[in-house]
Amino acid sequence: MQVDFQARELTIKLVYYGPALSGKTTNLQAIHRLLTPEGRGRLMTLETRDDRTLFFDLLPLTVNTESGLTVRIKLFTVPGQVIHNSTRRLVLQGADGVAFIADSQVNEVRANQAAYKDLRKNLRENGIEPSSMPVVIQYNKRDLPNIRSDEEIERMASMGHERTYLATATHGTGVMETFMGLIEAAWENLEQQHSLDQRFGLRAEHVLQNLSERISEAVEVADHG
């Protein structure tokens, strides 16, 4: 988090992490489509020729709150491919929360687990204790065959601490729920550390309310590779 008192701005950084091709970029594209243009920046995608993220995607959002403070939300994705580890670590620097986008397909279990371990390792290398980082989990690609069942995911989720969401990012379903959940989780942590309510009169519901008012009708998001 970063506060610019002069500009009365608070900037928070949220990172979409996960294995290669799990739908991180598609999540950002869906958020971009689902929000009305006001306060929504351009989605910047630094990708290679074959649609794979090279460095990151960046979607800036701005929320004007009752407190008079402008909350700038920077949504980033990391490149999922194993070789881009140092890029993932760089993008992860300064993150206030992480949405872990997992692939629901049964045969992707190892890729999901490897990416989660990679997240923990990179957090540690950045000097962050993984337990102190707000994380939400999204099981994406619910429209595909051979996926883990809802019950199974619910059972696994009940054993952990993280809020868990089901999504089909290509259709835009579950994407905003994950995003809102991520803001909430990140905010709880920021509130504890920085007393935003006491200092600025700034509460999560202000931001969430503003964002939910800006969700346009569900639009089908074009399939992204």
Binding site: D4, A7, G41, M44, L46, F55, L58, S86, L90
Partner: protein, 474 residues
């Protein structure tokens, strides 16, 4: 304050960081040519980034008048200083009746600068305003009217649309610039991060390497000590069994003599092995000194044949020593060279079936530096110097024995390596002979290589230079 460029948030705060001024000037010029309106682009710090304008006739005229000049300069300065608030375009008036539109440049919800469009005359201004006629006591109203008529006229709505269009074009330029800047920043940061990571890995590897080197040193010391300690009692065992064999302690029965003979011969075998270990150890530590002298390779191969002939005849193996007449004398350590060739020839006998054939040949050959130091010559640079051959002698030991798989060949010169590493292997040995031979050949600045085919036989080639670079070298 936010840093001008921060990877963590991917933000930009300064227009001048992103804008290529030449490109911006081109864009402004094309707008000017299209609409005939002057355009200036300023950053939020007030830095003029591009300016394409033409002094209007009325401005030229007003500037010829002293009061008019002051008023004109004041208006332009004020227009450049005005900052639009809340993202809205500001209309700045001029005493001539013309106006300026000041359009904010907003990127990622931040105001980074402003575009000043104008001056132009709103379409609804029909008469010469009082403010122009009163700007200077010497003003000629007719001239003022004529020059003002040349000022471009634009309808308010059109001006707004032109401003919005220019703003859109700038936004695209900014987005592309931002993207390019983030890409290059990330690229650099990633390279730096990879470099740091590799550096850490290298340090760890270096530590592991140092540890292994230390272990290797300890191993060498251990070998040296153990070999020495083993040799002392072994010498006694061999000495006393020789005395027993010689009957110094009384006549032995045939059976007793047989037992003592076995003790002695096995003792000698063990002594040989220990000597090999010591040799290897010395070679590894670079402590072995060569006592070189001029020797005749022809005599050497002939002598070796004589030595090994009884063993060959026992197994009906045809053992030949051949040489060409042009084989020169070479500088080498006779004891070590004999050790090398004897070792290769004994091996050949060992791995050749009964009634087979072993040949030891000596011929004049050439030795290239490239044979020993391939790294320097891979690229062919300096070949005219580096490929100059040296006169040498090649001693080859050839057999038609069991041969080896191609995949084994690169490993056979490693210490303790056995082609057949099983505990039940048919052929004995500690796997040190070839390793020692290689080290000894290299100590002579020579080269050893092998050719082999499974089931067909093996040939070892030892090429030694005619002279040693430093005759005293060891």
């Amino acid at each position: 304050m936010v840093e001008s460029m921060d990877i963590a948030y991917g933000e930009i705060t300064q227009l001048e960081e992103l804008i290529d001024r030449d490109s911006l000037r081109e864009v402004c010029r094309s707008f000017f040519e299209l609409f005939g309106l002057s355009i200036r682009v300023l950053s939020s710090r007030g830095v003029l980034l591009a300016s394409v304008h033409e002094e209007r006739s009325v401005c030229q005229y007003v500037n010829t008048l002293s009061h008019g000049r002051v008023a004109c300069s004041h208006t332009v300065t004020q227009a450049q200083l005005r900052t639009p608030e809340g993202g809205e375009t500001v209309v700045h008036p001029c005493f001539t009746g013309a106006i300026y539109h000041i359009v904010p440049i907003i990127y990622d919800q931040r105001q980074l600068g402003r575009i000043i469009i104008g001056p132009f005359l709103p379409a609804d201004v029909t008469s010469v305003p009082e403010s122009l006629l009163k700007v200077d006591p010497k003003i000629d109203p007719e001239k003022a009217r004529l020059t003002l008529a040349e000022m471009p006229r634009v309808r308010e709505q059109t001006a707004v649309r032109i401003g919005a269009h220019l703003r859109g074009v700038l936004d695209l330029i900014l987005f592309s610039g931002h993207k390019a800047q983030l890409t290059s920043t990330m690229h650099l940061a990633t390279v730096r991060e990879n470099y740091r990571e590799l550096g850490e890995k290298n340090t760890r590897l270096q530590e592991a390497f140092d540890k292994l080197k230390e272990l290797d040193r300890l191993k060498s010391n251990f070998l040296a000590t153990v070999s020495h300690e083993l040799r002392t009692p072994l010498t006694s065992i061999i000495g006393y069994s020789e005395m027993l064999e010689a009957g110094i302690a009384g006549e032995l029965s045939t059976e007793q003599a047989g037992f003592v003979e076995t003790i002695r011969s096995k003792g000698e075998l063990l002594l040989q092995l220990i000597s090999s270990l010591l040799d290897l150890n010395k070679l590894e530590r670079g402590q072995l000194r060569l006592n070189t002298e001029l020797i005749d390779p022809r005599a050497l191969v002939s002598e070796i044949r004589e030595t090994l002939l009884p063993e060959a005849e026992k197994r009906k193996i045809k053992l030949d020593a051949l040489w060409s007449d042009d084989v020169p004398m070479i500088q080498a350590d006779p004891v070590r060279l004999r050790q090398i060739i004897t070792n290769l020839a004994s091996n050949a006998l060992k791995f050749t079936p009964n009634r087979g054939q072993v040949q030891i040949t000596a011929r004049l050959a050439e030795l290239h530096l490239a044979d020993n130091d391939n790294d320097d010559l891979d690229d062919g640079l300096g070949a005219a110097l580096m490929m100059a051959p040296e006169r040498a002698v090649e001693i080859a030991v050839n057999d038609n024995g069991i041969g080896m798989e191609q995949s084994e060949l690169p490993k056979i010169f490693d210490a303790f390596y056995q082609v057949d590493g099983s505990s039940t292997r048919e052929y004995g040995g500690a796997g040190l002979g070839l390793s020692i031979a290689k080290s000894l050949v290299e100590a002579h600045h020579g080269k050893i290589r092998v050719e082999s085919e499974l089931g067909q036989g093996t040939t070892f080639y030892v090429v030694l230079p005619e002279t040693q670079p430093d005759s005293a070298a060891g």
